[in-house]
Symmetry: C2
Subunit: 456 residues, 2 copies
């Protein structure tokens, strides 16, 4: 990278921080209907930033959906085109009382920027915008063509972008998608993610009596829907972490020997991971699998929330009529989400005890994906990151889901490069989400370097 | 009963209804701290009614506790003394949206008075007050001495009255306690309850990770506290309704052959009970036991409420740090609540899966009780009810708990007579609680007749 570009990036760090803070102050929570106006403000903020950087921009609207932010700079025909992806929506911040500083009042402490969305994904998306802006401001042009597509529904299933991608729009045509929504395996260790889990997110609604009952009068003869949910959950997953859904593991593809060996060389300290990341008395999971295998290469069954009966202060002696649980399964290649959902539904029906009615609703699904680490764009990203961070790039997977990776592949035949600058202790989806600022600044430089390598 | 007394009761029915409605409009919910002022207003209402009836009254106060309403008329020394018991606090009304008319705006529909507390227990307590008032207004005196003790914490464990009774106050000395907080087995069928279940009400708090985790990143290796609660609940109670708490059934006393036979003669239609009372697709419970045995003579294990993780609209992919369940056990003679709680605590510790910490809190406990159906006061009550209702009195038990019955027996050596005028479909503790008005009016007459028989 030219000296003046590098100097420009270094001199603008304070501006980058202030710009990102402004974006983070907008509580663009896609899960909550009351935040719809914030969703729009956050989209417009991104659109305005891209326009100011020198790109043509557009907000793509659809009835009842959160806008997609589109931008393009296509000044070097014949050169490759990169499609940069990010999302401007965030997870809800609750439980609020556990935040040390308010989730939408960004605060820097010890080189970390604390706010909901700081890492997932406004901070990382801002890296992409500022990398392109820096190259354009200092060079007047880019070495390759770039497009941006930013969505506002990533945390709620990404339906708008999924539908748009499924329409195979020429506008999204590119040689590779660059996704900045993953993490570095460790500080200073440049990392590319080549595998993601899929997801089937469901709700299980159980009805017992048709109205709440006095537990003294009817206890012993009436079915209890909370107990029924407990029975269903424990029937579907054993205490050893193994999932008892018939057929569920049939299509699970184990990692290659080469990949497993590479994982075993990663700097990983289970006891530190347990204490500092998970914070529990023990790690759990399927016997016979390593932590990487459990979180990257094996499917999961998790209950995210449960509600039923009286949960206020004190005692109410009631057998409730209804209870509901939110249950998801993370999927690994090659488990199709629709098949997994059908298997789950059948298993719930099988496990439902007498006297209650269980109904299963699909909230959303996403396919798992694996990226070939040998494609040119992945290799260019690995080199760019090595040059900026000064260490050899490692290849990992993520236990999370980025459904759009599968769609880009399936619908547009486009490989994805997952360059991530988050860190494992960023508290994604949790109180005190943070972004490590040195990664923020070097991320901008690494993405700019990657664009140069692609255009070279 | 004299004709003028009977006429007085008949002529005042509208006044009784209006008086009760006024009391029911006060939302004296003891579970919720914000209703403290309503608790006081409901106590003062009862005190004022008793004073207007011609009794000496007092409000007994204790720091942080709901007042006890005391009243007495001791005009016939040498005659027996009856202690009338009732409670002026009510259960919370939620779920509010299921009420056809608002819970604290009493409404008469088809001979039923709908309101929270209409049956449990303001309506039944009002019967006692009005019976005494009618006898005093028409006769100028009573045939026996009466005392009243009304509490405002029955729905939250009854600590104030329990502590007061434990102090063995001379004021409460009486020959028998009359408790009007149970139900008639069927319309027109006078009923005395001779057995009550006890209760141990607990909370189970489970901590997994020390903060909420991203279920994609950590799912597979991190413990899930909601799943842990499901595992604990299902370890402690089987799908067949049998409770797997070591030692729990050791002291359970089966009903006598005579009592079992009497139960088998009660007019009971399981299919109707299932449809009209429970409203579930099937009845459940321990194999080999009848519905009466399951609800009257066997202990239970029920979960009343559960809360954990994200339960808002949409999807949040979180492994929560904490979850909590409210769990109770109904006890039968001779299970002591403190022993049952210790057994439960040990069983939870035993059933807690790896990686989580479970903490068990006792909310309150109450001993089960059995009354000897052959004592004079029970017999007088049976005769009084037969005379007013025109049918032979039956003896039943209740699956619910009235802890004070055990305390009156243990602390004051006083038997309790449980004359109830509720009906099985009164929706106690549920939306659309009601009181059948013919029972309300005849209940007043039956209690007056009982007082006459005791004083004869």
């Amino acid at each position: 990278m030219g000296t003046n570009t590098m100097t420009y990036f270094e001199q603008n760090r304070q501006n980058y921080l202030e710009g990102l803070k402004t974006w983070l102050r907008i509580p663009s929570i896609s899960t909550l209907p009351e935040n719809k106006p914030d969703i729009r403000r956050a989209a417009e903020f991104a659109r305005d930033e891209l326009r100011a950087a020198g790109l043509e921009t557009d907000l793509l609207e659809a009835e009842g959906r959160n806008p997609l932010v589109y931008a393009e700079w296509l000044g070097v025909p014949g050169k490759p085109t990169l499609l940069f992806y990010g999302h401007y929506d965030v997870q809800p911040p609750d439980p609020l009382e556990e935040w040390k500083s308010p989730p939408f009042e960004p605060e820097v402490r010890n080189d970390n920027l604390y706010a909901r969305g700081s890492s997932d994904d406004k901070g990382q998306t801002y890296i992409l915008i500022k990398a392109v802006e820096g190259l354009l401001k200092t060079g007047g042009k880019l070495p390759c063509n770039v497009k941006f597509i930013l969505e506002g529904e990533e945390e709620v299933g990404g339906e708008h972008l999924e539908a748009y991608v499924a329409s195979k729009p020429p506008r999204l045509k590119a040689d590779a998608a660059i996704i900045c929504d993953t993490e570095m395996f460790a500080p200073e260790l440049p990392t590319i993610c080549v595998g993601l889990r899929g997801l089937v997110y469901t709700e299980v609604h159980v009805q017992g009596p048709d109205h709440d009952l006095h537990s003294g009068v009817y206890g012993g003869a009436a079915p209890n829907p909370i107990m029924a949910i407990a029975e269903i959950l424990t029937a579907l997953k054993g205490r050893d972490g193994h999932i008892h859904i018939p057929g569920f593991y049939n299509r699970v593809r184990p990692p290659s020997l080469e990949e497993s060996e590479a994982w075993s060389r990663l700097p990983f300290y289970p006891e530190e991971y347990r204490k500092q990341e998970v914070g529990s008395t023990e790690l759990t999971g399927e016997p016979g699998y390593t932590v990487f295998e459990r979180t990257w290469a094996r499917p999961t069954f998790e209950v995210h929330g449960i509600r039923g009966g009286f949960t206020g202060e004190g005692a109410k002696t009631v057998i409730p009529a209804r209870a509901v649980a939110k249950v998801s399964m993370r999927l690994v290649a090659d488990q199709p989400p629709d098949e997994a959902f059908e298997q789950f539904k059948a298993a719930v029906a099988q496990a439902t005890p007498a006297g209650v009615i269980a109904e299963v609703k699909l909230i959303h699904g996403a396919a798992p994906s694996l990226v070939n680490p040998n494609n040119d764009y992945v290799r260019a990203a690995a080199v760019a990151m090595e040059q900026i961070f000064g260490n050899k790039t490692v290849y990992i997977r993520s236990g999370g889901s980025i459904p759009i990776v599968g769609s880009f592949d399936r619908e547009l035949g486009m490989p994805s490069v997952l360059m991530g600058f988050g860190l494992p202790d960023d508290n994604l989806h949790s109180p005190n989400e943070k972004f490590y600022l040195p990664n923020f600044y070097r991320g901008i430089e690494a993405v700019a370097r990657f664009i140069e390598l692609v255009g070279a």
